[in-house]
């Protein structure tokens, strides 16, 4: 049992497929949600999986340096800034329109 499990240690492909599944889930959320806050959550999911991919590549492709981990830190910082601005926009939008339904945010389309 131990030998079987040790022989099936997760490869780079398994890790990357996990990241891809998380990203695809976020993509589904972005495309299917109607509430802007729900879309923001799905975008955070996608950003998180992207940061995970940086670290995966760091471990399996360039283990000598920590460049991938540094990039993941930058991705997390950008995600934090994005969440702050998105929340401010949603609050201002809700004050003006009393909704965060993205289907009704089409006044720039006319």
């Amino acid at each position: 049992m131990n030998d079987f499990l040790a022989a099936h240690a997760p490869t780079a492909t398994a890790w990357l497929v996990l990241g891809a599944i998380l990203f695809a889930t976020g993509l589904y959320g972005v495309l299917s949600r109607r509430n802007a806050v729900g879309i923001l959550m799905a975008v955070e999911l996608m950003l998180n999986s992207a940061a995970l991919n940086f670290v995966i590549f760091n471990k399996f492709v360039a283990p000598v340096a920590v460049d991938g981990q540094v990039m993941a830190i930058f991705a997390i910082a950008v995600a934090a800034a994005e969440a702050v601005v998105a929340m401010a926009i949603f609050v201002a939008l809700f004050r003006h329109r009393a909704t965060v339904d993205v289907n009704r945010m089409d006044s720039m389309k006319d």
Partner: protein, 239 residues
């Protein structure tokens, strides 16, 4: 039977991966957004565990501090501040669900195909850094060609801009029509806070003061006196 570390690693990876995927699906399908936010917190915790498995303990700590402690709390606040009954049950129509799953499946197929046909190997030989936290710190503040001190500073500027932008966008009282006014704190700005009638009156008085005042008997006043008066009134400022 004792469990070797390698076997435990495999078991923990697949366990965390399964929980993360299930929670991620719950994030995008939960009908109540507050529950979705809690599921998102679970996904981010699982990601922190994955970082530990990837020999990145510092990143795991950052993940818990920033994502779980900051971003999820922000999202919960956003959910509560934009609470609307119409979107309480966010149930997308079937057509959009099908299209979205098609797009996600296509992405997954494409990337999965690329990953399964690519061979990944370490591009450079050498020993991995013993202490990844130390290596990250050195690399973030290294001004050499392999360092990241410039992006580090740019990110600090980005965060500052995001903080200020968030306050400006979300604040309760809209700023006056003049851009970049702080609502009367700066000299000369208080005029915009006054009612329009007083403002017009003040402007009229100012435009009158620019011309030489006319006496009631319509004889022009000697020009030297009003100039000196204006200088006294405006604090003798250079013109």
């Amino acid at each position: 039977m004792t469990v070797t570390p390698e076997a435990a690693y495999t078991v923990i990876f697949y366990l965390i991966a399964a929980v993360a995927v299930v929670l991620a699906v719950a994030v995008v399908t939960a009908r109540r957004l507050l529950r979705a936010a809690i599921f998102l917190m679970g996904v981010l915790f699982m990601s922190a565990g994955l970082y530990v498995l990837l020999d990145a303990p510092f990143l795991a700590g950052i993940q818990v501090l920033v994502y779980v402690g900051g971003i999820v709390v922000l999202i919960v606040f956003a959910v509560m501040l934009t609470h609307s009954e119409a979107l309480q049950m966010d149930n997308p129509p079937v057509r959009r669900k099908v299209l979205a799953s098609l797009a996600a499946a296509a992405f997954l197929l494409m990337t999965g195909g690329v990953f399964s046909t690519t061979e990944f190997y370490a591009l450079r030989d050498g020993v991995p850094p013993a202490d990844s936290t130390r290596a990250i710190g050195m690399s973030l503040l290294d001004a050499g060609p392999a360092g990241y001190v410039l992006p580090f500073e740019v990110v600090s500027l980005l965060l500052l801009a995001a903080v200020i932008g968030g306050i400006v966008v979300a604040r309760k009282v809209p700023p006056p029509a003049q851009p970049f006014t702080s609502g009367g704190d700066m000299p000369g700005e208080a005029d915009f806070q006054r009612p329009r009638s007083q403002r017009d009156g003040a402007r009229q008085a100012r435009s009158l003061a620019d011309k030489p005042p006319v006496a009631p008997d319509r004889s022009p006043v000697p020009p030297a006196q009003p100039v000196s008066q204006r200088d006294v009134q405006s604090g003798g400022g250079a013109r």
